[in-house]
């Protein structure tokens, strides 16, 4: 009854004055509310949107009942702000959600990066271990080599020691000189090796095998008795006998030469039997590596 009366009276008013235009505040409030409902507010700020709806309804009711009076304007003013609050709240919640997502991705990426770094470190460590193993191997190889070298040196020294028992060994500028007495190698006037000479030359060959050298020179020497040319020929033949035997014992033929020097390089007095005996000799010169 009351509402009908109001509506009728409003219709009468409309008839009299045309449409009553809503205040600008109400127009703005309606627009703001509509925009809020179309945005994320319904989903992210439902409570605020509901408050905005109630505020707008109140303003609409006041406008309907009282027309454009100051309370209506104020209610519309408030309703617009409530709608804007719903919108701002929804935007805030959305931004918070985005930030949370980015934070999670950040942490994931960090962990991912950490894993990667760990993997890289592992790789590096493995590489380091490999290098360590390689070093260890090298060390082993080196020590094996050292042992081998020491062994070779020991053998060579032993060979030299046993050589020293059968021959005179001395260091000269031209190299190591092994001097063998002619008496133990050859019969007088002969150049074929005596059986005992072979034993001695075996020792020499053994000692030479473990030595480093550039070349070997076998020199035949005689005393000064007899014709010089005969002595030279004999000394050469004897040197060659020795050379041939040493080659047969493993000394490379291209590294060993023979020469006959006769009595040109006497080392002792030819006037005494002892001196002549010392002069009859074969010298094996081991020319050192540079």
């Amino acid at each position: 009854m009351f509402r009908v009366t109001t509506t009728l009276s409003m219709l009468a008013l409309l008839g009299a004055c045309g449409t009553t235009l809503p205040p600008q505040e109400l127009v703005d409030a309606r627009k703001a509310y509509e925009r809020a409902t179309k945005g994320l507010s319904a989903q992210l700020a439902p409570a605020q949107l509901d408050t905005a709806k109630q505020a707008l309804d109140k303003a609409e009711k006041s406008f309907e009942d009282e027309g454009v009076d100051p309370p209506t304007v104020d209610l519309a003013y408030i309703a617009e702000r409530k709608a804007l609050i719903a919108e701002a709240t929804a935007a805030k919640v959305a931004a918070e959600r985005d930030a949370k997502k980015a934070d999670k991705m950040f942490k994931d990426a960090q962990l991912d990066g950490l894993d990667k770094t760990k993997a890289e470190l592992n790789k590096e460590r493995q590489a380091g271990e490999k290098t360590k193993a390689e070093l260890e191997n090298e060390k082993k190889a080196l020590s094996a080599e050292k042992v081998a070298r020491a062994e070779a040196e020991r053998k060579a020294a032993a060979a030299m020691a046993s050589l020293a028992e059968v021959a005179k060994v001395k260091e000269e500028a031209r190299g190591m000189v092994i001097t063998l007495s002619g008496a133990v190698l050859f019969a007088t006037g002969k150049y074929e090796l005596l059986p005992i000479a072979r034993d001695k030359l075996d020792e020499v060959a053994k000692a030479l095998t473990d030595q480093g050298y550039k070349g070997i020179l076998v020199e035949g020497h005689t005393d000064s008795r007899g014709k010089a040319s005969d002595n030279e020929t004999l000394s050469l033949k004897r040197a060659e006998s020795v050379r041939t035997y040493l080659v047969s014992r493993g000394i490379p033929s291209d590294k060993i030469r023979a020469s006959g020097l006769g009595s040109s390089r006497s080392i002792a007095d030819n006037s005494t039997p002892d001196g002549r005996a010392n002069n009859r000799r074969v010298e094996i010169v081991v020319e050192p590596l540079k």
């Binding site: 009351f2 931004a95 930030a99 990426a109 990066g113």
Partner: protein
């Protein structure tokens, strides 16, 4: 219509009676205090750092001043309406400040993520 008019007149009469009894409509002291607290809250919430929020903060402050003046003038009804408007503006100022802050933080987080990704891909 007649009935409504009578009702309205009755209400006005009541107000007049109470005004006569207590010195006009009640001073909206509680609402004013609440609005002032909301303005402070909006300021603390960073309303001065966002232009839109700052605008509504200004409106809220202006309306609070007007409300105080209305109270001085004894116009408590106008004061109450001004306080309500101020309250709505203060609330909006805070909501806008919080929105701006959240957007800023989301942008920062996104930038940090971008930087980290770039660093990791090097």
């Amino acid at each position: 219509m007649v009935r409504k008019l009578v009702l309205r007149m009755l209400w006005v009469g009541l107000v007049a009676v109470s005004a006569a009894a207590c010195g006009g409509a009640a001073v909206p002291q509680e609402a004013l205090t609440a609005a002032q607290a909301s303005v402070k809250g909006a300021e603390v919430g960073g309303a001065n750092e966002d232009p839109k929020a700052q605008l509504h903060l200004k409106l809220a402050n202006e309306q609070i001043e007007k409300a105080k003046k209305a109270i001085e003038d004894g116009d408590n009804e106008v004061a109450a309406r001004l306080v309500d408007r101020a309250q709505a503006d203060a609330d909006l100022a805070l909501a806008l400040a919080q929105q701006a802050k959240s957007l800023r933080e989301a942008k920062d987080a996104d930038e940090q993520l971008g930087k980290l990704k770039k660093k990791l891909n090097q």
